[in-house]
Symmetry: C2
Subunit: 663 residues, 2 copies
């Protein structure tokens, strides 16, 4: 049965999560990394099926974004020297607040500890309340017996005042905004201890989440594993702008690994320490964020969760993206366009559109430089989870790298009409200055040339009034007596034909692993048992993302059928249709169950007759088709140029039940 | 002109290298990473064109190996805990010998310093010799004037004895075999100093080439960035074997980044610190390394450079791979099969088959456990360079991980017929032992059970002879007095139905970046200048690997033509044909030159008439074709199902010269 939109209780959700996890690990979509050595938290291998799903997701991403939006894709190293991440702010700010078990040294995320404590406490309050209402006066006793620890229960009962509850709820809601000292004070006030040992905890302090390393053998070049792929694009802005014919807008994309040395990763494949990102940096003139293709997507209706609805504690709302931009809920067309394109990409993959929403960052949640930011959140058994960020980062990144590197990362805009502009000219008379001030001429000239418009005009006025004017070089503190002949200052109207400016960046940033995990959950369902067989599970992946497109079976274990199946498999491979041959000799029913379990959409069975049987995974329908035509048919089904309904319209269904096939 | 097989002088080679480098960097195939910060040695970004070439190379690799050979592809993290790389040997042995400038701390590879010194010295000898022969008695003077340093020249002349020359040649040839102390002694003996400063150098010492990092916040879990992708496959052997139906042979593959913290990288893109590898681990029964598809490749003629030819200082030889295996030059069919498949892959990419050879490792060069090893070497301006290693690594890796992890990484083989086997049984009588030795019973029982066959039979004999026998537990040194009733030792014939064994591994390992660089050189040529235009350069990439397949131009800058071109581009994109629209308004000749320069094989020009012009890159031939048919045509050309000759056979050539087109 599909999990679909049916609301599940917490117990059902947990059971569902475990069932999906077991299936994914049994069939090697995931393998906990270094399993034979006990594993390392936060690392997963993609086994054969998971690896192929990722390849398909990335290929679709390339087609959907890089090709269809005509972007530049580039690939940069993961090892990054410190200077780059100093400029981007990661060295100083890419941190989480951590507390340590004071005796054992184990580390915990401070906010997680507080969150867990509050969530659990509030749940237990509700439990006691329910029981008390059910049998007043007895409830407390029930709890005591249940927990078998009178004191604990008493303490909790005592805490159950409306004021306390409100305080806890407020703390839970405000969790993300606490500073380190605030978090520390809360942890102390609630008496939270190390969950492993009950020991006291240290005060919270920031832990930098980048994996650190040394580049080269000298020990003098500090490096980090990149925390995102974006910086590689920013530092190459100049070259990419040039290759784009010095035109805006243009976009560059990068797919690759990124790293985050989580303090204590949990939430399985949703929070890992090494992951694949796919990021786009769309560079645009800050004065014109319209998008020529926005009209193509304006009518899409998408669940949005704007700031207003969040602060009013309301729910997300379905909205036409065109309206959202028009009403100013989404800041501009380009940002709206990428939200819509992201929606189309995710739903094409197989993400359930009713469990996908775009949540706007609250004002205090957004980086100070960001113009607007929307997270694509997907609902899964871990809750609503951020899987894509769509941010208008304004000119922040390019300006930061300009300042740090000294290289201007700007674009040039030619005006439609030349504009009149007042232009200031400051010309120190170096000959006169040199005669008078000797070796100080250079520093004095440079200082004069660096004056602001206001300073220059004030000096000009003073020089015209007095014979001698005292001028102070602010960097050295030296003072000089200037006369009128020593510097020419003038201002005049000039025609300006264009300007240099720092482009804004719109950044859609995809966490591929999180999207994949949500996809697994959204595609997963269980199928009632065939008599005599256990219940089977299925992934209803769209063919385009399914790990392989087709299995090929001989009907039974015979040399001649194996050979026929092998030939069929080779033909599919030559046509570029990924496929798996299964000549294990298991029963047909079991073999179908095994391919359903990994979500292979089509199965071809060869037998002694002419032609073959093609079976579709979800309907379990079968058609008979000539072995000449079947390769093209499955190729078209696999690449989406045909759907199964086209097949059943053309070919007659074969009415063989799957258990019969085994007889 | 093609570089092809024409032997170039050293100066020509250097000039060619610079020309290729400039083209690759100007058109952003490569961008030195973090360029605006001055760059970091050993890191390159792939700009748009390079990135697309890499994607195409990897897709072809997947089709050629993973799909056609039915392998399991998996993906593991790069961050690896120390225990895994301790088992593999990398923590102890993945080192280069390094020397330090004793004053400045700069680091150098010891072998490179010696090699550079010897190469240069020998060259200068030759130079002096040539000059002396040309004008006896004057040569020395010429050199002095040239170098403007009499003393230096004198010293070199003095060195020019036949004995000295032979010594230097021998040292150069034996470079790879020197130990650290030997290298140190040579550096001292030749008086080699720091090339940067002339300072003294330290003794050579091993520097581990792995990038080191810490996993998690505690500082107690040492990790490294993986130096190869192979280990991720080995540690997952059990699961992959199970998913393969517990059958051998099977193969797993992995594509991903690997890291090598080079001491002082030079040789540009051929020696970098972060690179993409594509590795295959083919697991096979050590008693049967035949390959069912070997017959399909046996007739291929490939340049091989066997051990015998190398030690005899002869050249590589063209050989039928079938003969090489039959004669025992290549150890076994499976290894031979992968050599042949590697050859087919590389030549399909566009590697010149006459500049590709497989060189066998010399006995002293090969790891002690390896059965046989052949490097695919490709000739480029850096010389013959290892780009792929094909090794039979025997059971080494699986045994190493079995020993370290305690998990048996073995396969099971069912015998065709049950075999008679002597089976030893050791049963300690725990009750009696417990009574006698109390808490020591456990360690004693374990020790008894762990006896070898010889030890057990000796003990049995002794117990039958004497009343009491002294038994020593070797791990603790404790001694115990045993009697006959304390342990039952027996041996009898049993039917054995199968055996567990550790599979052998055949490993083809591809350095994708090196292959790509060689591909660039092999595809590069210069084209005589069109009058009025500078000389242009071209990459003759096969369509399958070309960064994009097609450019689309409007004949001139007109709104209606731009729209028409855009429509054509969208149609190609929908059909999955990567393409670039060029509406820059440059002259047609310039636009052709720009697409030739990045190796785009086809260009479509739209004009005011019905139909479009398609132009092929290398022949510069053009045909006229309807705009309906052109998409399919270019798609077929791009995926290789059609070649240009098929087009010219079907469509009439248009005789427009490219300069005319601009008029």
């Amino acid at each position: 049965m599909a999990t679909g939109e049916v609301a599940m209780s917490r117990e059902e959700t947990e059971a569902f999560k475990v069932l999906v996890k077991n299936t994914l690990e049994r069939r090697l979509f995931y393998i906990p990394s270094y399993k034979i050595y006990g594993g390392v938290a936060g690392f997963y291998d993609y086994g054969p099926w998971g690896c192929q799903v990722e390849t398909n997701v990335l290929n679709l991403w390339r087609q959907h974004f890089v090709m269809e939006e005509d972007m530049w894709e580039i690939r940069c190293p993961c090892v990054t020297p410190e200077v780059v991440l100093k400029a981007s702010g990661h060295v100083d700010k890419f941190t989480d607040l951590m507390v340590k078990d004071e005796k054992l040294g184990s580390c915990f995320r401070a906010d997680h500890l507080l969150k867990d404590f509050l969530t659990k406490a509030l749940e237990e309050f509700e439990e006691i309340k329910r029981e008390r209402e059910a049998a007043p006066g007895v409830a407390a006793q029930v709890v005591v017996e249940k927990k078998d620890k009178k004191k604990v229960a008493e303490k909790k009962r005592e805490l159950l005042t409306p004021e306390k509850k409100r305080e806890m709820q407020a703390d839970l809601a405000g969790l993300d905004e606490f500073s380190g000292p605030e978090l520390g004070a809360k942890i102390k006030a609630y008496g939270i201890k190390s969950p492993e040992s009950g020991n006291d905890l240290s005060d919270p302090y920031p832990f930098n989440l980048m994996f650190s390393t040394q580049i080269g053998p000298t020990g003098t070049l500090q490096g980090y594993m990149r925390p995102e792929t974006a910086q590689g694009i920013f530092v190459n802005f100049r070259d990419l702008y040039y290759e784009s014919g010095n035109r805006l807008p243009f976009a560059a994309a990068q797919i690759g690994s990124a790293y985050r040395n989580e303090i204590a990763p949990r939430q399985g494949p949703m929070r890992v320490r090494e992951f694949t990102m796919a990021e786009i940096e769309h560079f645009v003139n800050p004065d014109d964020k319209s998008h020529p293709k926005f009209k193509n997507v304006a009518d899409l209706e998408i669940y949005l969760f704007p700031r207003a609805e969040q602060t009013a504690l309301e729910s997300h709302v379905k909205m036409r993206i065109g309206d959202a931009v028009e009403k100013g809920i989404v800041d501009n067309e380009t940002l709206g366009y990428f939200i819509a394109r992201t929606y189309l990409f995710l739903t094409k993959l197989g993400i359930n559109k009713n469990r996908l929403r775009f949540r706007q960052h609250l004002a205090n949640e957004m980086a100070h430089y960001a113009q607007d930011c929307w997270d694509a959140e997907i609902e899964c058994s871990y809750g609503w989870f951020e899987c894509v960020g769509c941010a208008d980062r304004s000119a922040y990144d390019l300006k930061a790298h300009t300042a740090k590197s000294g290289h201007e990362l700007t674009a040039y805009e030619k005006f439609d009409e030349p504009k009149d502009e007042m232009k200031l000219t400051i010309v120190p008379n170096k000959k006169v200055l040199g005669k008078e001030f000797r070796k100080d001429q250079k520093i004095l000239s440079e200082s004069l040339e660096a004056m602001t418009r206001e300073e220059a005009l004030a000096l000009k006025a003073e020089l015209e009034e007095k014979e001698k004017v005292t001028y102070k070089v602010c960097t050295t503190g030296q003072e000089f007596q200037l006369t009128k002949d020593m510097v020419a200052i003038s201002e005049k109207l000039e025609k300006s034909h264009g300007r240099n400016f720092t482009p804004s960046v719109i950044e859609p940033s995809f966490g591929i692993g999180r999207i994949m995990y949500c996809l697994y959950e959204h595609c997963f369902y269980t199928r009632p048992a065939v008599p005599g067989e256990p219940t089977t599970t299925v992934f209803r992946f769209p063919p385009i993302v399914a790990p392989v497109k087709c299995t090929v079976f001989p009907l039974m274990q015979r040399e001649v059928l194996n050979a026929k199946a092998k030939k069929m498999s080779n033909g599919l491979t030559r046509a570029g249709v990924s496929n798996k041959l299964d000549i294990t000799g298991r029963s047909i029913g079991k073999r179908y169950a095994r391919t359903d379990e990994v979500g292979i959409p089509f199965a071809i069975t060869v037998d002694f007759d002419e032609g073959v049987t093609v079976r579709e995974r979800d309907s379990k329908q079968q058609v008979r088709i000539s072995d000449v035509d079947v390769v093209d048919l499955v190729r078209d089904l696999a690449n989406g140029s045909m759907v199964w309904e086209d097949v059943t319209a053309k070919y007659k269904l074969v009415t063989v039940t799957e258990s019969e096939a085994d007889s």
